[in-house]
């Protein structure tokens, strides 16, 4: 599933990588829907490989249709209270924001809930 690319890859010099990004716990409302198949640039503007940190900025700039970015990012980092899972594993085990994204990766963002 994660390998199929619904987003047409643009004719451009920047190579892209196909990933699946999922949002849960209310975050999906910031991005229009919960499940996204994306083709993201394989490298940032300085030519460094795309990391989770880069993905977060990229999502804010291109996919967020709600201006309240502070619900997703605070001080340039994922805001506290959001779990990040990389291919079903806690991102702490993968190097957090420094993790270099691979083609086919599934990145999951979950906002933790407290109501009851």
């Amino acid at each position: 599933m994660a390998d199929s690319t619904e987003v047409p890859i643009r004719e451009s010099e920047t190579p892209t990588i196909s990933i699946a990004v999922d949002f849960y716990g209310g975050l999906h409302t910031l991005f229009g829907k919960g499940q996204h198949k994306l083709a993201i640039p394989a490298a940032d503007k300085s030519g460094n490989p795309a990391t989770i940190g880069f993905l977060v900025t990229h999502l804010c700039e291109t996919k967020m249709n709600d201006p309240r970015t502070e619900l997703f990012v605070l001080d340039g980092h994922i805001r506290p209270g959001i779990l990040v899972l990389i291919n079903e594993a806690d991102w702490e085990l993968e190097g957090e924001e420094a993790y270099e994204i691979q083609s086919g990766d599934n990145i999951v963002f979950v906002s933790t809930l407290h109501g009851g």
């Binding site: 999922d22 849960y24 716990g25 209310g26 999906h28 919960g34 249709n65 709600d66 201006p67 309240r68 502070e70 619900l71 605070l74 805001r79 506290p80 209270g81 959001i82 779990l83 899972l85 079903e88 594993a89 806690d90 702490e92 085990l93 999951v108 979950v110 906002s111 933790t112 809930l113 407290h114 109501g115 009851g116």
Partner: protein, 472 residues
């Protein structure tokens, strides 16, 4: 409150939670015959493969603490009581309100105003008189938490705020209790089994189950947090999570996984040392879409965890004397600004000025969500939901365009460049931010136009002007 121990009951008689026996032995297998009533009542569940008489006796000899008698606690308690858990403690300081009844299925219209704990126990006794019910008609706090939790074998977190969730988890780590935790707001739900099988704080010689802090290291800032009272909650969503919580608790008790122990004779059916976080998303906008359940694999106990990790300094004594400070931990400063007085007007002053004809021509923007607006609004108010307003403001900043486009379409002749704008929201926070945004975009026409916040929002309108206003 009096309890009625079942016939041949092995649990001690308890009164208001004072004399529940210390935990530690109740999970041990107690062999005895089932009474005729027990046999009849529990037969349908006992014949399920994996339960049997031994499983049923484990439930009967178990003590479960349900913290929170609301949207999660009510459905959870029904199944815990129905299954025949021997001692059921319930903690909650709130009273039943009519707005609870769409989801809090253990209460009733006839018990509005009653303590939720007493109301729920009334309901549970109607289902099953055999368990011993222990009421705690107050909120759990750092001073009473350890004393209450120490009397039980398993804890179910059915509460509604992060400070209490961190407190409950910390106590469960220190007292070696498994914790079944669920949460739900609006159209989302979550569930996870923590600290199970329970392992003493600081042990890391192999993989152990995580605690709440291992999984959720930091609370979200209060500004991004939604409560059921503010964001709303769908009954079946929170109900589903509460029922699933009961299911997990019953599995743990039947399998005797709640007993702190090094080796378990019963093989683990799944790896609880790396539990899954169940996330449920309920789509109202996409009614024909697929069910959205997902089980996310979580990591085990973390070496650097503040509560259960290697060099943790967390103690029961510390918690009782105020360290850590849970309220402070969960209420990091948020940008709560207040506009200067000349940009604000009280609801009653606005109402008076309108009645006296002092503001014949003005715009009134109501920035509540459209669902709230649909119940009622001040005459002439135009709905511009806050999120939409921010989106438009961001688009204008980014792409340019007329700032006046942010205003609702109105007759040109009605709006002059000095026509004042009043902004009202639900409680008076969003409206202040909206005033700031509109000024930033130049909608105030260089100061020719006043843009004014109505202090306290529609809540204040209800309190000061129109008591019959349908405010949610």
């Amino acid at each position: 409150m009096t309890q009625r121990p079942g016939p041949n009951s092995v649990s001690a008689h308890v009164d208001n939670g004072e004399d529940v026996p210390d935990s530690g032995t109740s999970g041990a297998s107690v062999s005895r015959r089932l009474t005729e009533e027990e046999f009849d009542r529990y037969s349908r569940q006992m014949i399920v493969p994996g339960v049997g008489k031994d499983g049923q006796l484990r439930l009967i000899n178990s003590r479960v603490l349900i913290i929170g008698a609301g949207g999660l606690g009510c459905p959870a308690a029904q199944y815990i009581a129905g299954a025949g858990v021997g001692t059921i403690g319930i903690v909650d300081g709130d009273v039943v309100e009519v707005s609870n009844l769409h989801r809090q299925v253990g209460h009733a219209a006839s018990r509005i105003g009653m303590k939720k704990v007493d109301s729920l126990i009334t309901h549970l006794r109607g289902l099953n008189t055999l368990p011993t019910y222990v009421p705690y008609t107050f909120h759990i706090n750092p001073q009473n938490a350890a004393d209450i939790i120490s009397r039980y074998d398993l804890v179910m977190d059915c509460t509604d705020n992060p400070a209490t969730r961190y407190l409950i988890s910390d106590i469960c780590v220190l007292l070696c209790k498994p914790l079944v935790s669920a949460a739900s707001v609006q159209k989302s739900g979550q569930l996870i089994v923590l600290n199970c099988p329970p392992t003493p704080q600081g042990r890391l010689d192999r993989q152990y189950a995580p605690c709440y802090r291992c999984c959720f290291k930091k609370p979200p800032p209060p500004s991004s947090m939604l409560s059921c009272g503010e964001a709303g909650i769908m009954g079946p969503v929170v109900g589903m999570m509460g029922v699933a919580q009961a299911g997990e608790a019953i599995k743990i008790l039947i399998s005797a996984l709640h007993i702190p122990s090094q080796d378990h004779s019963i093989p683990l059916e799944r790896n609880l040392a790396q539990p899954t976080l169940l996330v449920y998303t309920y789509e109202l906008e996409n009614a024909v879409g697929p069910y959205s359940f997902r089980a996310l694999k979580m990591a085990g106990r973390k070496k650097n965890c503040f509560a259960c990790g290697e060099n943790s300094t967390l103690t029961l004594e510390g918690i009782q004397s105020g360290t850590p400070n849970y309220e402070q931990f969960c209420s990091l400063p948020s940008p709560n600004f207040t506009l200067p007085p000349d940009e604000r007007i009280t609801a009653s002053a606005y109402h008076g000025a309108r009645n006296r004809g002092e503001i014949p021509n003005h715009l009134l923007l109501d920035t509540r969500e459209k669902e709230h607006f649909s119940f009622g609004s001040i005459d002439g108010a135009v709905n511009v939901p806050f999120g939409k307003l921010l989106t438009k403001a961001a688009a204008i900043k980014r792409e340019g365009g007329a700032a006046s486009d942010i205003l609702p379409p109105v007759e040109e002749s009605d709006v002059a460049e000095d026509t004042p704008i009043f902004v009202v929201c639900r409680r008076g926070l969003d409206s202040q931010e909206a005033v700031e945004k509109l000024k930033e975009l130049g909608v105030n026409n260089g100061g020719k136009r006043r843009i004014v916040d109505i202090v306290g929002g529609m809540k204040a309108w209800k309190d000061e002007v129109d008591p019959a206003f349908p405010w949610v």
